[in-house]
């Protein structure tokens, strides 16, 4: 909930291991460039290996974010506190994929609130800005972006 968001708080959302099968299945549907759909083409590319599509790495951040929010909501419910469904997002800025994600890599995802403000156009709602990252098992940054999302305030109807 909007009121519970603490500026500067960094949450570890969860970790995911990317298999060759999942990398190829995603890319075959959404990003069929040779280095995303073939081990051999990956080895012969400037990446030197099969690598995950950037949208695969990014989409998995969203999955981890949703699962984290569910755990937070369950913990609130267990304490008898009200729980509200978060809203959609209008997009993001500054997506970077500084290192490729290779088959077998495990990416741990994080989200840190950088600022928030009430929405003038929708009373009862706020917008929350965040710095979001993914780090591989070697501690290398593989993804970062500046996100934003709409959050209900206490008592708002969703």
């Amino acid at each position: 909930m909007y009121e519970d968001i603490v500026i500067g708080q960094r949450d570890e959302l969860g970790a995911h291991t990317f298999t060759a099968e999942a990398i190829i299945a995603f890319a075959a549907k959404y990003d069929p460039q040779p280095f995303h759909i073939s081990e051999e083409a990956g080895r012969n590319s400037h990446f030197g290996a099969l690598v995950a599509a950037g949208w695969h790495t990014g989409g998995m951040w969203m999955r981890m974010r949703v699962e984290h929010a569910r755990r937070v909501a369950a913990a609130r419910a267990a304490k008898g506190l009200p729980v509200q469904q978060g809203g959609p997002s209008g997009g993001f800025k500054n997506m970077r994929w500084p290192k490729p994600v290779k088959a077998g890599d495990t990416v741990t995802y994080f989200s840190e609130c950088t600022s928030k403000r009430p929405l003038a156009s929708r009373p009862g709602w706020g917008i929350v800005f965040s710095l979001n990252t993914g780090v591989n098992q070697h501690g290398e940054l593989v993804m970062s972006f500046d996100g934003s999302g709409f959050m209900p305030m206490a008592g708002a109807s969703t």
């Binding site: 549907k29 959404y30 990003d31 069929p32 460039q33 040779p34 400037h46 599509a53 950037g54 949208w55 990014g58 989409g59 998995m60 969203m62 999955r63 949703v66 469904q85 978060g86 809203g87 959609p88 997002s89 209008g90 997009g91 993001f92 800025k93 500054n94 997506m95 970077r96 994929w97 972006f145 709409f150 969703t158």
Partner: protein, 157 residues
């Protein structure tokens, strides 16, 4: 069908100010739910009723899904077979309107600028603005990003 005229574009083929439209992608309910189940399992991306009760006004695709669809249309429209060397990232993605089952999406691409790379003379940088437009002519997504392309002269050399 893509109407990009050049089958294997290299850096030299991109002209600042040029606007091209290509691609056709019909979004189904099954695909919206399948993508959301794997990557964005929020109720308004999974369930008609929850979608209607939300800001989105009905079951709607995850923004990440809409972005992935643009990637696919760009692959089919000009990236696969080109001299593309990938991208360092995206400047901005705006998810402007919800994408609902049955929507048909097309890409409108504008070349914003082309510039040489001082450190890597074999390639150049093409900065693009992409709009994903639905069957009503509304832009549902706008994305701005650079893409690195090899030079045709480098291929010959």
């Amino acid at each position: 069908m893509p109407d990009t005229a050049i089958p294997h574009p290299a850096f030299e083929d991109f002209v600042p100010g040029e606007i091209t439209t290509y691609g056709r992608y019909e979004v189904t309910k099954e695909e919206i739910i399948a993508f959301a189940t794997e990557f964005d399992p929020q109720p308004f991306h999974l369930d008609e009723e929850a979608g209607r009760a939300s800001w989105l006004g009905g079951l709607a695709a995850s923004g990440w899904h809409t972005s992935a669809i643009l990637m696919r249309l760009n692959c089919d429209g000009f990236m696969v077979g080109s001299t593309s060397m990938g991208s360092s990232g995206l400047e901005e993605v705006q998810w402007l309107k919800p994408v609902h089952p049955g929507d048909v999406l097309t890409v409108r691409r504008e070349i914003l600028e082309t510039r040489s790379s001082a450190s890597r003379p074999e390639m150049g940088i093409v900065r693009c603005r992409f709009e994903l437009v639905n069957q009503k002519g509304e832009a549902v997504l706008v994305q701005t990003n650079p893409i690195f392309f090899g030079r045709r002269s480098a291929e010959v050399a």
